[in-house]
């Protein structure tokens, strides 16, 4: 467990599945250098197989006794989807004066799966009881990370100052046990480097007081970012005070730190005549219980009670939070906090990323002595 923990809350009632977060992340981090197939941030449709395909069935995480479970490493063609290139080059050099020119614009792969392959499919019968909602996912920066536990090289670490889980690329040998160990399959193998890579919670941005790119760019303003122990942060209020933000599949035992406001605001179901069935739940609460645990019932109760309260009295702190008035309040990051840590470490440039292990390795003939860290 780290000293402090950064967390993100995503309000699923407001996610419109526009993928702006996905693109923000991709252009910032994963459009190059062997990461092309990776989506550190993706938005999938629930119910659906998700990305990688059927990730919830691929194992990893911990059993009730606290032992790491076996897992399966997804295949790029069938489970992630291969990124393809178009034949731009061929078009540019194609000789159209020749007989029977065929359109030269082609993809160089025939994909069978990809992120968002089953977008908006959902389940049920239209229009009576069909439903789906969007589930944006990033690394959960778990309190007890499955990836970290699975690594036989001590190449994955959890930063003490904010709980961000990172891969030390100098130590990583590309064994991929981390991928089997992560129940969310949010750590990926980079075949170009032969090393594992994952969401870094935009730590170089965080250290400068800026939220992660996915949160900054979100057009629905569904994402809140802050320290869980900071009582002034909206993240703290949503998770700890109102308890309406819940971790995804906490039954995997990793202690995820990305929290979700469950989707409660779906229209009611219709009967055979197309009339509204009053009080019906289009999104089955049972499904929400699978994703967010039993606490989802209390969270739904609180959300509805506060909504009523707001409607009647015009006042509700919780509803005000969820309206997401301004970014300054939604993102409570502390640039000064990181600068102080940098100073204490004698780092000349206070804004440089603080964990030197990640950016610069130990190029040394000295033996790096392994320090066993006690995990709680």
């Amino acid at each position: 467990m780290s000293k402090r923990q950064l967390a993100m809350v995503m309000d699923l009632n407001k996610c419109i599945g526009c993928q702006t977060c996905t693109v923000a992340c991709k252009t910032q981090w994963t459009n190059r250098n062997g990461r092309e197939y990776m989506y550190w941030n993706n938005v999938e449709t629930y119910p659906g197989d998700g990305y990688p395909k059927k990730w919830m069935e691929l194992g990893g995480g911990f059993d009730a006794a606290g032992d790491l479970k076996e897992g399966t490493i997804p295949n790029i063609q069938s489970d992630y989807g291969v990124p393809w290139d178009f034949s731009f080059d061929e078009i540019a050099t194609f000789d159209y004066t020749k007989n029977n020119p065929t359109p030269a614009f082609r993809a160089d792969e025939t994909p069978t799966w990809g992120p968002n392959w089953d977008e908006d499919v959902g389940t049920g019968n239209f229009p009576s009881d069909n439903y789906f909602f969007y589930l944006p996912r990033i690394c959960n920066h778990c309190t007890n990370p499955g990836c970290l536990s699975a690594c036989p090289r001590d190449a994955i670490f959890k930063r003490d100052q904010d709980g961000v889980v990172l891969v030390d690329l100098d130590r990583c040998q590309g064994y991929r046990y981390c991928i089997a160990g992560c129940p969310y399959k949010k750590i990926y193998f980079n075949p170009k480097l032969s090393k594992s890579e994952k969401c870094i919670l935009c730590f170089p941005r965080i250290e400068e007081g800026l939220p992660p790119a996915c949160a900054q760019q979100c057009v629905g303003r569904i994402r809140f970012v802050g320290f869980l122990d900071d009582e002034e942060s909206q993240v703290h209020k949503l998770v700890n005070k109102y308890k309406v933000a819940l971790p995804l599949r906490s039954d995997y035992g990793t202690g995820p730190n990305i929290y979700y406001i469950p989707p409660t605001e779906a229209p009611a179901k219709f009967d055979a005549e197309g009339k509204i069935i009053e009080g019906s739940e289009r999104i089955p609460v049972k499904e929400l219980e699978t994703l967010f645990g039993k606490q989802v019932h209390d969270a739904i109760k609180t959300l509805r009670a506060e909504k009523d309260k707001r409607a009647k009295s015009g006042e509700s702190e919780l509803m005000d939070l969820l309206i997401a008035y301004n970014h300054e309040d939604m993102f409570r990051l502390d640039n000064n906090y990181y600068q102080e840590i940098a100073k204490a470490k004698g780092n000349a440039n206070p804004l440089a990323p603080i964990d030197e292990r990640y950016v610069k390795g130990k190029y040394t003939t000295e033996i790096s002595h392994f320090k066993a860290e006690e995990h709680e």
Binding site: N31, E36, E70, N75, D85, S149, Q173, A180
Partner: protein
């Protein structure tokens, strides 16, 4: 010319014709290294002329079973692995040592292109950084506290790129994200390809698996190559290493301890899932000294294995798995001993029974199985203390237990 001829004659002695010296050491199980004039570390290859007339010794590499890893597919594929035979030839010069390994592998597995669940075949050589007491060699699983090893590794991985390597950010961009076409695009792709590191040859320094750290400052003088013969379905790997570089201090010895490992990518082998030899003595032909090491590493245990079996089953089986039939009550508590006899020395086994905390490798991730701690760590000193109490103090009991443990090993592949 005369001198050259002499060297050639000494070098011409093969393993088979190696004459027993007066001290009557039994060299069975040891590798005999032929003296050559010069080993060119950077250009060494399987077909190098230096290998001419060098005999080969069969070394058995046993499946490593120490800890249970969490890849479901790999666990299934490797559950019933057999030991593998590797033909090892050895040469040495005044400053370097080189080995040629030949082993069979039904498939040539190479990690190339954009793949997430493919693993390359590979091989490695392990040397201690230094050694003096043959009874206190580093732990075979990549060394132990205060007994570091240097591992030289080669994997069949076509091209890999260093993260942040060479400070070249521009060429990290995927070619489809550039604005280039035609010849410019071709030039770009060629430049990207040229920044890749080929082949995948690495040197690591380690004090127990998990502490393994890559040597990146060029201080390891190392050359490795591997090639696959699809007709014979055999890999041939060669490794040459300086005996005195920034990583090891092994010059001046008459014999060296060495161990080898091979990985079968087709069975998803990587890291700990591999076949591994015990410490093998390499006698440097024509050089005196280190007879004690050769004796130690070639000795057959003196104890009574039958008596040892009774003791070990009674005292050890609650925490250690001894065979597929004798599984530990708690599979995560102690290292699996199913193949321990294949890759452990007599001295290591005796030491670990007598003083379990003498060698405690940081191989186990405390977080993965928090209710089954192999060891505890002093938060002040960082010293690891084994959860296992000293089980036997009587030398006869220990010898019997060692004799039994040495019999725990997988059968050998034909």
């Amino acid at each position: 010319m005369n001198k050259m001829l002499k060297i050639f004659l000494i070098a011409g002695l093969s393993t088979a014709s190696f004459a027993k010296p007066a001290s009557a050491i039994n060299y069975t199980g040891a590798i005999s290294a032929k003296r050559v004039g010069n080993i060119n570390i950077s250009t060494i290859s399987p077909n190098d002329g230096v290998w001419r007339g060098v005999g080969a010794t069969t070394v058995i590499l046993y499946p490593q079973q120490t800890i249970k890893l969490n890849d479901a597919k790999a666990n299934k594929l490797n559950a019933a692995n057999l030991a593998k035979k590797v033909q090892v030839s050895a040469i040495y010069s005044s400053s370097a040592v080189a080995f040629r390994l030949v082993w069979s592998d039904p498939t040539q597995d190479t990690l190339s292109g954009i793949k997430t669940d493919v693993y390359g075949d590979g091989f490695a050589m392990q040397l201690p950084v230094a050694f003096s007491d043959p009874k206190k060699l580093p732990y075979i699983g990549m060394g132990s506290d205060g007994r570091p090893v240097v591992v030289s590794l080669m994997k069949a991985i076509t091209a890999h790129y260093e993260p942040n390597g060479k400070g070249d950010i521009e060429h990290q961009l995927s070619s489809s994200n550039t604005v280039l076409f035609g010849d410019e695009l071709k030039a770009y792709k060629a430049k990207v390809a040229s920044t890749g590191n080929i082949p995948y040859v690495k040197s690591f320094i380690s004090e127990g698996f998990r502490s393994m750290t890559e040597v990146k400052d060029g201080s390891a003088k190392l050359g490795m190559k591997m090639s696959y013969n699809p007709k014979t379905k055999q890999w041939t790997g060669v490794v040459a290493k300086s005996l005195n570089d920034g990583t090891v201090r092994l010059g001046g010895h008459g014999a060296l301890p060495v161990s080898f490992a091979i990985w079968d990518g087709g069975k998803l082998n990587r890291g700990g899932v591999k076949n591994l030899s015990s410490w093998i003595a390499v006698k440097l032909q024509g050089k005196g000294g280190d007879d004690a090491l050769v004796r130690e590493l070639t000795a057959t245990p003196s104890g009574n294995a039958t008596a040892g079996k009774t003791q070990v089953e009674a005292m050890c089986a609650s925490c250690h798995t001894l065979s597929d039939a004798k599984k530990a009550a708690n599979p995560y508590m102690g290292p699996n001993l199913k193949d321990i006899g294949g890759y452990s020395t007599n001295a290591y086994l005796a030491e670990s029974i007598k003083d379990p905390s003498a060698v405690v490798v940081p191989g186990y991730n405390k977080n993965a199985h928090k209710n089954s701690p192999w060891y505890n760590v002093d938060p002040k000193t960082g010293k690891r203390t084994s959860t296992m109490p000293p089980m036997m103090t009587d030398d006869k009991m220990i010898n019997d237990a060692v004799a039994y443990l040495k019999t725990l090993k997988a059968g050998v592949e034909k």
